[in-house]
């Protein structure tokens, strides 16, 4: 996985968000084994305690589960993955709408822009 961190906000929360995105997008597959805390910490360049905290949080939220000896795995529960995808998508939509409102755009203008962009993309891919 690629790890990038932003200035503000706790690191463990940023790791939770990144793994959630990887699970929701299918980059991490259901049932896939997740590397150990030490390995992940090295990969992300963070402290092992921070990585451990993020993994514990992901387990608490049900996105990962651990098996005592075999390690830690991505959930195989489709409902949990779908919920994570929906939660992230809603977040992106909120961010988008906030930005549009800050620009002073009204609802129907936003709709028009979305439609126009959709047509342009369809034309671009020849669909």
């Amino acid at each position: 996985m690629e790890w990038t961190f932003e200035g503000g906000g706790p690191l463990y929360a940023q790791i939770v968000a990144a793994v959630k995105l990887a699970v929701a997008s299918g980059e991490l597959k259901p049932g896939e084994r997740v590397p150990g805390v030490r390995e992940l910490a090295l990969e992300a360049g963070v402290n092992p305690n921070t990585m451990q905290r993020a993994m514990a949080e992901l387990e608490r939220e049900g996105l990962l589960y651990s098996q005592r000896t075999a390690g830690r795995f991505v959930t195989e529960d489709a409902g949990t993955v779908a919920a994570a995808r929906r939660e992230l998508a809603e977040g992106y939509v909120r961010t988008f709408l906030d930005a549009m409102r800050r620009l002073g755009l009204e609802k129907d203008e936003i709709h028009k822009l979305l439609e126009a962009e959709k047509e342009e993309q369809n034309a671009g891919t020849g669909m």
Binding site: G8, Y12, N49
Partner: protein, 231 residues
Amino acid sequence: MPVLECKGLSKSYGAKRALDGVDLRVEAGRIVGLLGPNGSGKTTLIKLANGLLTPTQGRILVNGLEPGVETKRAVSYLPERACLPDWMSARDLMGFYGDFYADFDRQAAEDMLSRLGIDLRAGMKSLSKGNREKVQLIMVMARRARLYLLDEPIGGVDPAARDYILNTIISNYNPEASVIISTHLISDVEKVLDDVIFINQGKVVLAAPADELREQQGKSVDQIFREVFRC
């Protein structure tokens, strides 16, 4: 028991107060950033912890003991300036460290050196500055100590060497031991820190878990540092 504890710790050089009533606790398993501008007292605190200096007032305890023979067994120290005899090769250094420190893990040192591709027979003199600093860090981190004191480990090395040094610190992480990293290069180290201690003019101005600070203030430790120490 904390790995390092300071109680009302002060150190004066003549009329100058380098440390002024410092109270601190560092627990096992923590990687701690000792952060402050130049001349804030970071090196003085580290030298007190390893017994190179003695307190003017107050106490400093390592594993509950005053610095001395017992604590030196448990403390692995990386000085600010390279101190390795430059006629020695990496192999000589491993022998040297092995003779001095019962907890020196020669195999671990050899593994780290070979991953760096360092010729074990080459004298330190023939290595680049970056590689000399890495070799010294390897010697320090290959000890199975309880307390690692790293004084400016990333000062004056290029970004790739910096990553190597930070990765070496992470990969040698031991939940029984603590690491104290003194630096003023906050943005480079902040990702590896559990806790931060801000020190200024000999006084601790802030001591807290790094993620707690980021959460409360919505800023990076680097940004908070710049605000606290604004000139």
